[in-house]
Subunit: 206 residues, 2 copies
């Protein structure tokens, strides 16, 4: 029996190249999971095969800016002239229905989310060593040396922000890291601050 | 990779009859576990088959009282003329060696431990309903009706103390409850406050 039936917003973050996307994928492959993606909203045009409400919520610039004014984003940013953001209403609906919403996001975005939603669970993914991360970034091979260097410099700045997160998970092995995140989600549901209300109801504590 | 290599003191507590002992047993049957019991110290004489250092540490009244003066117990109590207590040195040694020390203890004792060791993990086990607990206590059949009533009254007082614990775990099913405690232990090791020191070392963060 789960005392806290509301879903959790689980924010998976960490330096670029650390394996956030792969871990998220491993989480969604877990049996009997109750996870859903956080679907972002954007002003950019849908690419071939992209579906509204699945890949993104596609909206006009006016709509997006209206939502900014109404404080309807957990975080947003402009990138190459287009807006990208996380709409709060969609997430709230999923959490209320009991789903765990998994959000994979860069460090700066995660810290924005934290200000708006402090009761979310913030997990910082780290490499087993700096060298492992740099090897991964280099092996990707899709980028110029200059871009790799930029990512390394950004990672160096981000290492120092781990203290702002609730948990630090080392990505030494994908399955291991995903299992640990799953354990964190289970544990968070059992936390007294999340479960005492329903517990008091159940036991008739005044 | 576990960033926090020190073991955790895991205090499993809750009203009498809630199934603490059975859950502890299920925990120790888990594969590849790293758990050890918290061995109590007592002034009572060993019963047949009981081994010093395994079932209890058997000591004299003088030794016990000296340790009380030296503040060497996480908690202690006198019961039918004999002392029982949890020696802090033994636990400290296990934690340093990386073992998770599982302590199963009544509510009053757990709250004493909390004062001395606030970084332990405190888990309150609750029945799925009051009725389930009362049925269990009655079915035990080893006690007088009067004693059952006393335990029920004690449980009623203890229900209100759940807020002092870190986690509330419902014992609706032994395996389920033990799994959840295992998840809590894994999650606690990943908590930023427990792991940031080693993480900073690993990443060379000043």
């Amino acid at each position: 029996m789960k005392l806290n039936e509301r879903g959790l917003l689980v924010v998976i973050s960490g330096p670029s190249g650390v394996g956030k996307g792969t871990i998220r994928k491993a989480l969604f492959e877990m049996p009997d999971n109750n996870f859903c993606y956080s679907v972002s909203m954007t002003t950019r045009k849908p690419r071939e095969g992209e579906k509204d409400g699945v890949d993104y919520f596609f909206v006009s610039r006016e709509e997006f800016e209206k939502k900014i004014q109404e404080n309807k984003f957990l975080e947003f940013a402009e990138f190459v002239g287009e807006y990208y953001g996380t709409p709060v209403d969609y997430i709230e609906k999923q959490l209320t229905s009991g789903k765990e919403v998994i959000m994979e996001i860069e460090v700066q975005g995660a810290l924005q989310v934290q200000e708006k939603m402090p009761d979310a669970v913030f997990i910082f993914i780290v490499p087993p060593s700096k060298q492992v991360l740099y090897d991964r970034l280099i092996k990707r091979g899709t980028e110029q040396v200059k871009d790799v260097e930029k990512r390394i410099q950004k990672a160096e700045r981000e290492y120092g922000l781990a203290y702002k997160y609730d948990y630090i998970v080392v990505n030494d092995d994908i399955e291991n890291a995903a299992d640990r995140i799953y354990a964190i989600i289970r544990a968070e549901h059992a936390k007294t601050e999340r479960s005492i209300h329903k517990y008091h109801k159940l036991m008739g504590v005044k």
